[in-house]
Amino acid sequence: MRTDEKLHAYLDGELDAAASLELEREMAQNPGLRAGHERLRELSAAVREKADYHAAPARFKVRSQKPRAWLLAPAFALVLAAGLALGVFLAQPRDDDSLGAAVVATHVRSTLAGRLIDVASSDQHTVKPWLSARLPFSPPVADLSPEGYVLAGARLDYLDGQNVAALVYRRRQHVIDVFVWPSRDSAHSAYARDGFNVVRFGSGGMRYWIVSDLNRNELADFARLLAR
């Protein structure tokens, strides 16, 4: 393989571990090679962020609509939780964290309405293009099934005055909503709100808000995996 092809394979995650290490060592010695890698990375990012993604016209998407059975059980559990949460919303004084409130409310609302998922798939390569086709950005979609967090699908949502990606993961009976949108804000915090655990952080130019009734420790682990 020629050196310039190696740079491309490295960028694309297609170089094996030994060859990657060797190239990294070479780059550490050779500023020209390092700069070449950096330019390639920027070019690739520019294409991913800026090239048009052409979604198929609606007539190609006609399909029979059936309720997805697996949604019903967790949805029912959350109806109870949401009922409680709504009661608490009314009793609680206003706070500064209106976005946090909006995130939890959106999670509850989508669960109540049974509108958790627009594209149902455990395959990140299905979910990501689906979202990219409908949003002005391309959210990272991680496969965390080896760690026990199973991707269930995604939907579009609206937060902070813009369209955002909502990724839906499941762990046991718990539904985890991950809201993602581009932002430079990188503040990190974790707290409980109205019976839900909330984690927010920034990574790779994206803002993440995670909401679930999953316990705090596991949700923190999940957030760490996403931020990797």
């Binding site: 070019l43 198929a56 190609f60 798939s121 395959d123 390569h125």
Partner: protein, 171 residues
């Protein structure tokens, strides 16, 4: 589950990816629509033969439909000079962050088909080299050289001087 329901569940989620490829290869909505229509019929007919993942399988069908269509309607576009300069430098330095969408789209559209398809499958659809090789029916080594070439041509097309020659000011 009926064949139709299985097709809808396994194949239809990938119809955006299929259209995106057809649209980038034919470069207009009308032709992409025609090609996808034909490719979806073919996919439905051969659905029984699907083993493994539906997404690369469908895109291989779409890709072949695009090439047949181009061969019949615009054969000149399929020619591409595959021989890269052996010691070609990496892409030129460009201010990638400052590029606008129109320039990026025009530069990709300007790539010869074999390089354009490799780039679209890699950067917009996130396929592995192995899947791209399968979809385009070429060896992995060719995927690599086409991708390297595609990015080099793209960087050249996006150089400030090439993108906006009229903006140069001579004092």
């Amino acid at each position: 589950m009926s064949d139709r329901a299985r097709f809808e569940r396994q194949v239809l989620p990938h119809v955006d990816a299929a259209y995106n490829l057809a649209r980038w290869l034919t470069r207009n909505d009308h032709d992409a629509d025609d090609v996808l229509q034909e490719a979806m019929l073919r996919a439905y007919r051969f659905f029984g033969g699907l083993r493994g993942e539906a997404r690369p399988w469908l895109l291989a069908i779409v890709r072949n439909a695009c090439w047949s269509w181009l061969q019949a309607n615009r054969p000149a576009e399929l020619a591409a000079d595959e021989a890269g300069e052996p010691d070609a430098p990496g892409p030129e330095s460009i201010l990638a962050r400052e590029l606008d969408r129109r320039a990026v789209n025009a530069a990709i559209a300007g790539l010869p088909v074999p390089f354009r398809e490799a780039l679209v499958l890699r950067e917009l659809e996130d396929f592995s080299y192995k899947d791209i090789a399968r979809i385009a029916g070429i060896p992995i080594g060719t995927v690599m050289s086409r991708l390297a070439r595609a990015r080099r041509l793209l960087a050249e097309a996006l150089k400030p001087a090439a993108a906006a020659p009229r903006l140069r000011v001579h004092k």
